[in-house]
């Protein structure tokens, strides 16, 4: 594994897959579900993905916790489909522009399952991926410019500081007698100050990075080499197979539908 700079416990099979491969896997698993729109393909994919949970190092409970926001949001999309999709088959009721019909019920179910099936692979694949490791892989394997990748990585680290700034500024506004009224105005004035802090912090960070040789002409080395292995091929092939089975099941059952048809 990587250099002695990182000593993380690595137990799950998926942890040994390069983050760049993981990005490719998410695209493979999600793209077909974005252009097709039937319940069978999404449900099959969802089921097969759930069978893969043990490989990810996540517990089912952890997966469920992370899915909560999606599960809360998905019915919103489903309900709008239920009421406003193009009617077809038996019509069960109409109110103004809303019509509930066989077609709209089917579509709404398909959307419900699909939203979850789109979110699940992202959660399974990236929940345990370390941002630094992702950056290493994007720069070394995907050959994105290292200045860009490391700049974003270092900048992202400072987000927590802005959260603290925001809290303190809220308290300070109460202390200064402006806490009772004008919440909107207060919000914008704090956002502006935060912008000032961001620029200043960015300048400081750039100086600190430059002081440590960042951006010089020397060819950079990587303390944590990011490489591809046989496992990456297996992981990508498995993702392809999974989505092929899901789409195949939809075609065989006759439910397969592409968006817009």
């Amino acid at each position: 594994m990587s250099a002695a700079t990182t000593e993380r416990s690595r137990t799950a099979w998926l942890d040994g897959v390069n983050p760049v491969t993981k990005v490719a896997m998410v695209i493979v698993l999600a793209a077909p579900l974005l252009v097709s729109i039937d319940a069978v393909s999404a449900a099959t994919a969802l089921l097969l993905e759930l069978l893969c949970v043990p490989l990810t190092g996540l517990t089912f409970a952890a997966v469920l916790t992370r899915l909560v926001p999606v599960i809360v949001f998905a019915p919103v999309a489903a309900v709008s489909m239920l009421l406003y999709a193009r009617p077809g088959g038996t019509v069960y009721g109409t109110f103004l522009f809303a019509t509930v019909s066989d077609d709209s019920i089917a579509l709404s179910l398909a959307v419900l399952v699909r939203v979850v099936a789109l979110a699940l692979p992202i959660i399974l694949i990236f929940a345990r991926t370390d941002p630094t490791e992702l950056a290493d892989a994007l720069a070394q394997v995907a050959k994105l410019p290292s200045r860009f990748v490391l700049g974003v990585l270092a900048g992202a680290r400072t987000v927590g500081l802005f959260v603290d700034d925001w809290r303190t500024m809220s308290l300070a506004r109460r202390a200064r007698g402006l806490g009772d009224r004008g919440a909107l105005r207060r919000f914008f004035s704090m956002a502006f100050v935060l912008l000032v802090f961001a620029v200043r912090r960015g300048t400081k960070l750039a100086t600190a990075m430059e002081a440590r040789g960042f951006g010089s002409d020397i060819e950079r080395t990587w303390a944590r080499p990011s490489t591809l292995s046989g496992r990456d091929a297996v992981a990508l092939a498995a993702a392809l197979a999974l989505i092929a089975v899901a789409l195949g099941a939809a075609v065989v059952s006759g439910a397969f539908r592409v968006v817009g048809t």
Binding site: A4, T5, E7, R157, A175, V193, A223
Partner: protein, 482 residues
Amino acid sequence: MTGPARVDVEGWGWRYAGRKLPATREVDLVIEPGERVLLLGASGAGKSTLLAGLAGLLGGSDEGETTGRILVDGAPPETQRGRIGLVLQDPEAGIVLSKVGDDIAFGCENLGVPAAQIPARVAEAVASVGLAVPLDRPTKALSGGQKQRLALAGVLAMRPGLLLLDEPTANLDPEGVAEVRVAVEGVVAREGTTLVLIEHRTAVWADLMTRVVVLAPGGGVLADGPPERVFAEYGEALAAAGVWVPGRPVDLPVLAPVSAPDAVLRASALSIGREKGAVVASGLDVSLPRAAGTVITGPNGAGKSTLALTLAGLLPELAGEVVAAEELAARGVRRPVRWRSTELLTRIGTVFQEPEHQFLAATLRDELAVGPRALRMAPAEVDRIVDELLERLDLASLALANPFTLSGGQKRRLSVATVLAASPEVIVLDEPTFGQDRRGWMELVALLQREIARGRTVVAVTHDADVVHHLGQHRIRMGDAA
């Protein structure tokens, strides 16, 4: 090239783009390999500019205009990345990555050190600053002293011949100061690295340094020599310029202790925390004596700031209640956290650790008027209060300046003045003397003593033993974090 570096500064000066006057000029200086130089001078004499110049970080001609030259080992510093290591005052400013090991390795990677050699360099750097934490520890979980030692380790992993430290301990508690001092001492003793350090609090570093260089405010070098000689000959001028010269105590009275029979604010069995469920301290019994100074001390993470903000009516108590004296009640309510913002304003004022967090306006005048206007005072009355404060705190010449453009000492005074504008009974301050030079420190403490004499109650969270000495009529010591 390895080993300690040599520095030649020849008639050097720098003017930032957009400024009329140079930040510093006509500096001539030769630093031999292995020398340990304490760089002093009044605020604005260009110490930090010189240090940035030595580090090769001032940028090109679009950033400013340079005269003369600086050479490190005979070459311009910009070409010497890795030979020169810089550690700055703000512990947050030096950290680049989110894990300790990765952050230390960052410089080596940039210098093209072969990956196979980096782990050994990281281990060596960690050992030499005595940072005994796992390499996968998140950098945000470190204390201030640990962060500064991490910054030092990140620099040492590059094996520099010249170490530049810009007030590395100004924002640290006494434990942190001691940690960093020991780490730096170990490095220079082992490696003989050339050292240039800026620090107002000279007592921490004086005995480690072989030479003191004082920059003159108008440019050039005012004094240069062994520490004892420079302090003896220029002690008075240095003290006036804001330097804490060893053996020169501040000339301010020490207020008599009080036994706290008459409390303005009181709390018993108090639990505090920034959010629900995250208790940082509990079972606190606190009372603040009227018209006296109270100091809150204790190690990092003990909850000092949280206690101050809770007493100030800004954070809700997690258990127990903060209760104000009868005469402070608003609408019959005696719990500060239940007061309206405008009710709090005239009762308890808070000065935050970072002055900029509490600035709201585009000019000093408007900044000072915020409180009086929130209280719906007549314009003439607002003007009277603002004028009086500008005069009293020596800020009148800056009345139309933007608060964000002030110096550190001016920002601190302004943040105190914004609180005084609403005449609160109680003034709560969080680390008011952080990063202040001797002059700023004395102005601030004298101001607070005058407020106490006028019958105000002052509460200060502080690590500063001198603040405790001069304002600590009543002392609250917080225990170690549970």
